[in-house]
């Protein structure tokens, strides 16, 4: 606490500022020597940016910045910045940590993935700018900052998805993502305007006091629903998920990992902040019962996604649907917020799952990146016998997929059962049943990939010569953290619960 007190307040935004600074440095480096772009320098710069941002976040978490402190009450609690349009608290730091970790992994993996790719500086700087946006979303405390930050995430993402310029699939995916994204931004903005009509303010705290004050009209209810729809697009919840399979499949695999893990986390933090902190259920419920709306959304999302994943023949597309399905699981953290439940416990389940998911899902997509790097095909049967050729990476993939399926090989096991507990805590039996059935369904399609990797004989012409260091390091790190989160789940769950406690 002591050393933090000497820093100016805006230093609490250091995680986001670091990303932004690194992005501009990258552009500067590229401007100095545009011709002979130096991949090591570019990747190194981005990696250091991400690592410094992660270090700041972890430092703040350990030092207790923005947390309710035991000592001096005036310095304790969330840090308001810029007239309260941004706030740094446990929630924002928790999600910054997820985002920064994912960026570290993605940048590490991109170094090999992009080995003879042009426009590397642009690629890295777009990743870092999007990360800046995501980190800002975690701290947004007003609809204006939230909207701007979300756009700062979206615009680079569109370009990144389409960054394989000579690949038709990539360009098409980028366009589709952009069109649907533009529509959803419009819906989100319109929802904000409807809420503004009733509340007369865009600041979260101000809207909260209006909500608690009394009469809210149908217009307000419509606004709440449209905001829910707008954010549902970012987290790829059904029926706003149509872009996800296309975008994830067309995008370069590290970008699929980035969007499906980090961008989803950013969407969720906004959803948590807005719905738990602002549209407090007990006051909004007479106008619009969003808990029921989210229960429906959660059940539909997990069911549709898992059954769609069941039929996929391409690994990346299957992972895309799995990622949609996990959005459905995490929605339990809001859908379980019924009157009798312990809200911090329920909300904490979703946050914890997102953190574990950040590692295991990123890892799984990076394995796909590795397969693409080797020129292995995209279908499940193209992965036949990869286990014999690359046992180490395939063992990591086993960790990722079984952890995603909720078997005790990684933290995904505990976080899935934590979600199941949250749904029982909320006494929403239907959610628990849907989670159970979907989890079993998901085990089938995850296992199919592992079957191909380990139990099938390799096709004759599969010959792997290169083992790229960057990708391997990223995969190993992700696997290590996923496994360690099983025994070390406690501190993470604690952190999530404390952060959730501040919000509810």
């Amino acid at each position: 606490m002591a050393e933090i007190a000497t820093l100016p307040e805006w230093a609490a935004l250091a995680p986001a500022l670091t990303f932004a600074a690194a992005a501009f440095l990258l552009l500067l480096a590229d401007a100095v020597s545009p011709e002979e772009g130096n991949p090591v320098l570019l990747a190194g710069l981005s990696l250091s940016g991400a690592l410094v941002s992660l270090a700041f976040t972890v430092w703040y978490i350990v030092a207790g910045t923005g947390q309710p402190g035991e000592g001096d009450p005036s310095s304790a609690g969330a840090i308001d910045l810029f007239d309260g349009t941004l706030v740094v608290d446990g929630m924002s730091l928790f999600f910054s940590a997820i985002i920064a970790s994912v960026v570290v992994l993605v940048v590490l993996a991109s170094y090999d993935y992009l080995h003879d790719h042009p426009y590397q500086a642009e690629y890295y700087s777009l990743v870092l700018l999007a990360a800046t946006g995501m980190t800002t979303v975690t701290a947004a405390n007003s609809f204006v900052t939230a909207f701007i930050a979300i756009e700062l995430v979206s615009l680079p993402s569109y370009a990144l998805v389409a960054s394989l310029k000579h690949n038709r699939g990539s360009v098409e995916a980028g366009l589709k993502y952009f069109l649907i994204g533009a529509l959803s931004s419009a819906i989100f903005a319109y929802g904000i305007s409807l809420v503004y009509v009733t509340a007369g303010s865009l600041q979260f705290d101000a809207v909260t006091s209006v909500v608690e004050g009394g009469e809210l009209g149908g217009i307000f209810g419509l606004g709440v629903l449209m905001i829910l729809g707008g954010i549902s697009f970012k987290i790829a919840a059904v029926p706003f998920h149509f872009w996800a399979p296309e975008a994830y499949e067309g995008a370069p695999a590290p970008i699929s990992a980035f969007i499906s893990s980090a961008s989803k986390a950013a969407g969720f933090v906004l959803l948590f902040r807005v719905f738990v902190g602002v549209f407090t259920w007990e006051f909004v419920e007479p106008t619009i019962d969003w808990v029921v709306a989210i229960q429906v959304l959660a059940i539909v999302t997990m069911t549709v996604a898992n059954f769609a994943a069941l039929k996929q023949e391409k690994v990346k597309r299957m992972l895309a649907y799995s990622s949609v399905g996990h959005a459905g699981y995490v929605l339990i953290a809001l859908a379980g917020l019924t009157a009798g439940a312990d809200h911090a416990f329920v909300l904490g389940s979703g946050m914890t799952h997102l953190l574990v998911y950040g590692f295991m899902n990123t890892g799984a997509f990076l394995y796909v990146a590795l397969a693409e790097y080797w020129g292995v095909g995209r279908r499940i049967e193209d992965y036949n016998g990869l286990g014999a050729q690359a046992p180490f990476a395939s063992a990591a993939m086993t960790v990722f997929l079984f952890s995603l399926a909720g078997l005790p090989i990684g933290g995904g096991f505990l976080s899935k059962y934590y979600l199941l507990l949250a749904s029982i805590e909320g006494e929403v039996a239907l959610l628990a049943i849907a989670l159970i059935l979907n989890s079993v369904v998901s085990l089938y399609y995850y296992t199919r990939v592992l079957w191909a990797i380990w139990a099938e004989n390799p096709s004759a012409d599969l010959e792997i010569e290169q083992y790229p260091t960057g990708l391997y390091t990223a995969i190993a790190l992700a696997a290590l953290v996923t496994v360690l989160l099983l025994p070390a789940f406690g501190p993470v769950a604690d952190l999530a619960n404390t952060a959730a406690e501040m919000l509810v």
């Binding site: 078997l407 805590e425 604690d494």
Partner: protein, 522 residues
């Protein structure tokens, strides 16, 4: 700390074997598997548990640390053994070691992975039997699936993809149901429960701590939890009609894996039934017709499992289905809730582990030599493989319950226990019908032996038949020795078992008058 050492040494051995080259993996794994076996022997000599772990008894080798808090519940690393779990721990180490020896002949590819996974299965199974905190126990419970899936999927027979997938999905669904069942109890216990230790959950339920949940009466919660738990475990046991994964998994799995599957994995189900349903929720049995229904379920498994076995032509399928029948006796014994009923059921778990392990191993030895398992394809094997045939015959008689073999002791104890129980209306009739199952078992085993082992030598494959390798014969002989030793002197483990099931026996269920007959440890 001996248990931590046991688990740690097993996992470490697995990792070491994974990294070893294929050519030495089998020998290395066999050598390393002696470490957990030796550790169990050391534990045996220092075993000082008394009473039932979940009913306030003294737990041997107990250790308990905070793991982490989830909401208002403290999850702990809590391990220990009592008279119920320790025999199963010993069974696990013995069977895994022997299964590894018997893998030398059939497993000829990707050996380091195979033996590493075998040791991982062992570690997870040991964890199930020593875990006393629910979450910890559940981690091990689910962890068994991962290596088992790969063992079936990679080294299995032609339909291994289907069998392995069915195994993992079926049992995972069951685990999820069971998990909900446990947490119905935990949430209904509310504030009266501070940790998720099975000891504490059990004590809280016994002290009447169950409250309302979601507007339902505690009694309703109990029944609902009992049903969910029973469904969850019934798949593992397996109880008819949840048994369909078992023949597929057994037939496709390589024989050494079947040994572990039938010998130990099925015991997870019955062990969990004993720990949860029949220890924590035994009240449910006293209500209405619940005990009769369970008795009937057990009886159906006994009879239907045996009749299914009767209809098979594949030796391995015959043994697999007869496991279903044998597990039915365990259900019957547990439902009786008498000293010999529960004690005999626990004894039967160990005994069946040894006998079915022996049978699967013998079938595997035949298969290695003949490359067929169909009863119709071979005859007169005793001519060429007299030792294996002899041990197979002995094992089959053990299955049929020949006196002085462990199968006899297990089944007789169960019948004595179930005959007199006052919990079940018409218990003698149930018992008599269950005994009929043995007749069917004798029918198909005698038939199968007569067709395959005796008569003129004939074989419809092109393989030369020679004597079985020494390590296979030795493994079979060790198992047979154990089966006979436990048959001659059941008290070797039955004393400890009796001590641990004593607290579970409900006053007035009767059936103890005949205990003199066997001179059990009472």
């Amino acid at each position: 700390m001996l248990i931590e050492f046991l688990l740690g040494i097993t996992v470490a051995s697995a990792l070491l074997v994974f990294m070893a080259p294929d050519r030495i993996a089998g020998k290395l794994a066999a050598g390393l598997s002696l470490l957990p076996l030796g550790t169990t022997a050391v534990m045996w000599s220092g075993f000082d548990a008394s009473g039932n772990a979940l009913r306030g008894g003294d737990i041997a080798f107990e250790s308990r640390f905070e793991w982490f808090d989830l909401g208002s519940y403290a999850l702990q690393w809590h391990v220990g053994v009592d008279g119920v779990s320790f025999p199963l721990v010993a069974l696990t180490t013995v069977l895994t070691t022997l299964a590894i020896f018997s893998s030398w002949t059939p497993i000829d590819e990707r050996q380091s992975q195979f033996y590493g996974l075998m040791l991982l299965v062992e570690a997870a199974l040991l964890g199930v039997f020593v875990g006393l905190d629910f979450f910890l126990w559940f981690v091990f419970w689910e962890a068994v699936l991962i290596p088992m899936y790969f063992l079936i999927a990679i080294w299995g027979g032609p339909r291994r993809e289907y069998a392995a997938m069915k195994f993992i999905i079926y049992t995972n669904l069951a685990s999820l149901l069971m998990f909900v069942g446990v947490f119905l109890l935990v949430f209904a216990l509310g504030d009266t429960l501070a940790t998720l230790s099975l000891v504490d959950i059990s004590a809280a339920i016994q002290n009447g701590g169950l409250g309302e949940l979601g507007g339902f009466d505690p009694e309703v919660i109990k029944v609902a939890a009992f049903v969910l738990l029973f469904l969850g475990f019934a798949v593992k046991v397996p109880v008819v009609p949840f048994h369909t994964w078992l023949p597929d998994a057994h037939v496709e799995a390589p024989s050494p894996v079947s040994v572990v599957l039938a010998g130990v994995l099925l015991k997870m189900g019955t062990y969990a039934l004993l720990r949860f349903n029949f220890t924590m929720l035994d009240d449910v049995l006293t209500n209405g017709w619940n005990a009769e229904i369970l008795m009937f379920v057990g009886l159906v498994s006994v009879i239907y499992g045996a009749m299914l076995a009767l209809a098979q032509r594949d030796l391995k399928r015959i043994v697999a289905y007869s496991s279903i029948s044998s597990m039915g006796y365990v259900i019957i014994g547990l439902t009786a809730l008498t000293a010999h009923g529960v004690g005999g059921a626990t004894f039967q778990m160990v005994s069946h582990g040894l006998i079915s392990g022996l049978m699967f191993m013998a079938v595997g030895v035949f298969y290695n030599a003949t490359h067929t398992r169909m009863v119709g394809d071979m005859s007169g094997l005793a001519d060429r493989m007299p030792w294996t045939a002899g041990i197979f015959v002995a094992g089959a008689f053990g299955y049929m319950g020949l006196p002085l073999m462990s199968g006899f002791a297990g089944e007789v104890l169960v019948f004595i226990g179930s005959f007199h129980t006052s919990l079940v209306e018409g218990a003698p009739i149930f018992t008599a019908l269950a005994m009929f199952g043995i007749v069917i078992v004798a029918g198909y085993l005698l038939w199968a032996m007569q067709r395959t082992l005796f008569g003129p030598f004939e074989l419809e494959t092109d393989y030369e038949i020679g004597r079985a390798p020494l390590q296979d014969l030795a493994s079979l002989a060790v198992l047979l020795g154990l089966v006979i030793a436990l048959g001659v002197n059941p008290d070797f483990i039955y004393g400890a078992i009796q001590d641990a099931v004593e607290p579970l026996v409900r006053a007035g269920t009767g059936g103890d008058a005949l205990s003199v007959l066997l001179g059990g440890g009472r």
